[in-house]
């Protein structure tokens, strides 16, 4: 098995391909900004009895201001969610004449299918030294999980958040105790989201030895040929076979964009790591 390595060592001029377009990257940027904002302003309320939460809220100008920022970030979340739904609707409309199997269960779809189940098993077996590493397509099973987790998360957290933002309105057709339920869902689902993104997503996507310290593809949109072949052989081979590879070939990422990717990425790591440590510290303290 060939190990992917960064392109600096390769002798010939390396090819680059476009994996994410401007729209994908723009949505991910909105997610980063709003998600960090939501966690930083929301967790202090969940852990309001702790000293770190009090201090964090104070630095933001009090929990009232934090609540204001939280709602702005919540609105951004709804914005990217709706933009994505419009994008998905457009995509579905474009493909509606194709057979169902091609676009619902095809390689560009986020819908998990039998191959993903096989990949989970195969990947874990490979972890413990059994068998070959599964060959992945455009979206791996953990990427589909990330996507669906955000989709589910925005649905649950977003809707419960809206009811808590406008309780007088939602009480017209919901009983008041549903706000008690909404708080539990909102708060624990947020803990799941923050805990998952700041540990599992960061590791799976960026921090694992093959990608360390950062996979810039979501910022620059570009993936090198070598990495493409190694990471997503099925997609590479299909594109090659269909003669579409040329269409997605792009210029290499500029040095400036790589620097920016790292700056943004490391800020997000820092904020995420600090929040995770605070949460773990509070959880351990509560056990005592």
């Amino acid at each position: 098995m060939t190990q992917y390595s960064h392109s600096e060592n390769s002798g010939r001029q390396e090819r680059w391909y476009l994996r994410f377009n401007y729209f994908h990257r723009f949505l991910h940027a909105l997610i980063i900004i709003s998600f960090l904002g939501l966690v930083l302003t929301g967790m202090p309320l969940k852990y309001s009895h702790t000293a770190w939460a009090q201090a964090l809220a104070r630095y933001m100008g009090g929990i009232g201001t934090a609540g204001y920022i939280h709602r702005v970030c919540g609105a951004i979340t709804w914005l990217y969610f709706l933009l994505h739904l419009i994008f998905a609707a457009y995509y579905i409309l474009k493909l509606r004449d194709e057979p169902l199997g091609k676009w619902v269960f095809g390689p560009n779809s986020m819908v998990p299918w039998i191959k993903d189940l096989k990949d989970v098993v195969g990947h874990v077996l490979w972890f413990i030294g059994v068998g070959e590493r599964p060959r992945f397509d455009r979206f791996t099973y953990w990427e589909k999980f990330d996507y669906l987790a955000v989709f589910w998360g925005v649905g649950i957290i977003g809707f419960s958040g809206l009811t808590l933002w406008f309780p007088e309105f939602f009480a017209r057709f919901m009983p008041g105790w549903s706000f008690n339920v909404a708080i539990i869902l909102h708060s624990d689902e947020a803990l799941l989201a923050a805990g998952f993104i700041f540990t599992i997503h960061f590791f799976n996507t960026h921090l694992r030895p093959e990608k360390f310290p950062l996979d810039h593809v979501i910022f620059t949109g570009r993936i090198s040929e070598e990495e493409f072949k190694h990471e997503r052989p099925l997609e590479y081979e299909r594109m090659l076979q269909q003669g579409k590879l040329d269409k997605i070939e792009s210029t290499p990422p500029t040095q400036t964009s790589l620097v920016w990717a790292r700056i943004v990425g490391f800020i997000a790591y820092g904020a995420g790591l600090v929040m995770i440590l605070f949460i773990i510290y509070s959880a351990l303290k509560e056990l005592h």
């Binding site: 190990q3 009983p175 624990d188």
Partner: protein
């Protein structure tokens, strides 16, 4: 002969009257501002300002009216004088002092040769000056310092900063001559009497309180009911609309209503209040303050019939549905809130399951990727 007799009588009279001391005789010595004596190693001035004395409340009296032991003395007196007995004239005040056992001399508060009537703004017991007078002894003597507390409290601010004469000063609550400790049942600040003491000024709220559930309990057993000072501090009295009061009001109510305080702090209103955000509801916003009634009372703010109006104070447009929100819910309590408990339980299972699976997944992946990296590196060295 009659002439000589008359002269003799006149002379004798003059001599005899000059033998007893008069006020002017006293000032022969005591107007000297260098006149001192030593008391327990300290030099003490014996100077008395004749002008100040003359204008004092006692200016018309002779020295010997108070210093009785000097009456009839013909010449210089000894170093030790008997204590002055104010009670000879001020017998009412003296009786109160004796009964209350406040360990102070009349002069400690009123002065000596410069005593002015309490209505005189220069008097040490004029309302504006009372805290200063009491605090010559009571500052730093007690922990916490009641004088510092009073100064920063509402009564002190109104009196000392705003200069408003009607504010409460020490003696309005503690008495003037009948000052007694809080443990004394006759004290103005005894638990059973404190409401009456505050009512001297705060008549309206005390009357409202008497109609409330707290007032009702107080009538039956004063020891079991909150009194004014249970919720309001005695010396560092806050304004009830100030943040400092609103943030701490939960703690005050929780002294008795411990469980409600806990469940409040676990819900939204309590969480943001705990972070210093006072625009959210605190106990009095929903339950009332001096007018708190039992939930079963149809007039109560939290009686089911009144909840729409109560919630509507902050949540305009709140309807019957809205009032089904449970501001004191505790999702750990499966008995009382089974639905919330099971929602919470489901979330715990979801979180535990997700983190367990991906935790192990990530850990194994890391080990494998790390080993792979090492192998490739050593492989590359060949």
């Amino acid at each position: 002969m009659p002439k000589a007799l008359i002269v003799t009588i006149v002379l004798l009279t003059a001599v005899s009257s000059s033998l007893a001391m008069s006020t002017s005789d006293c000032f022969d010595c005591h107007s000297d501002d260098t006149l001192t004596k030593v008391v327990r190693g300290n030099e003490v001035s014996l100077f008395i300002d004749e002008e100040i004395y003359g204008k004092s409340a006692h200016g018309e009296l002779d020295c010997t009216d108070c210093h009785e032991d000097l009456a009839g003395l013909e010449d210089e007196h000894g170093e030790e004088l008997k204590p002055v007995q104010c009670s000879n004239c001020h017998d009412d005040a003296a009786e109160e002092m004796t009964a209350a056992e406040h360990p102070a001399e009349c002069s400690d508060c009123h002065g000596k040769h410069d005593i002015l009537p309490p209505s005189d703004s220069r008097s040490s017991v004029y309302d504006l000056n009372v805290p200063g007078t009491c605090c010559t002894c009571h500052s730093e003597q007690e922990t916490p310092d009641v004088c510092v507390q009073y100064e920063s409290g509402m009564h002190g601010m109104v009196l000392l900063r705003s200069g408003m004469i009607f504010s409460a000063v020490c003696n309005d609550c503690h008495g003037s001559h009948d000052i007694r400790g809080a443990g004394d049942p006759e004290s103005m600040i005894a638990r059973a009497n404190i409401n009456d003491t505050c009512a001297a000024c705060h008549k309206g709220v005390v009357e409202t309180y008497r109609q409330s559930i707290h007032g009702e309990i107080f009538r039956d057993s004063p020891e079991d009911a909150p009194v004014c000072t249970s919720c309001h501090s005695a010396h560092d009295t806050e304004r009830a609309m100030d943040d400092a009061f609103l943030i701490t009001v939960v703690k005050r109510c929780s002294t008795c209503h411990e469980e409600m305080g806990y469940t409040f702090s676990k819900n939204y209103h309590g969480q943001v209040t705990g972070m210093g955000y006072t625009r959210a509801a605190q106990c009095p916003d929903c339950h009332g303050a001096h007018d708190i009634l039992s939930r079963d009372d149809p007039e109560s703010m939290v009686h089911p019939d009144n909840l729409v109006a109560t919630c509507g104070k902050c949540h305009p447009g709140a309807n019957r549905n809205f009032t089904m929100y449970m501001p004191h819910a505790d999702y750990h309590d499966a008995q009382r809130y089974p639905m919330l408990y099971y929602v919470y339980l489901a979330m715990v299972i979801l979180l535990t399951g997700t983190f367990a699976f991906f935790g192990i997944h990530t850990l194994l992946w890391f080990i494998r990727a790390y080993l792979e990296n090492l192998r490739n590196r050593s492989g590359g060295a060949h």
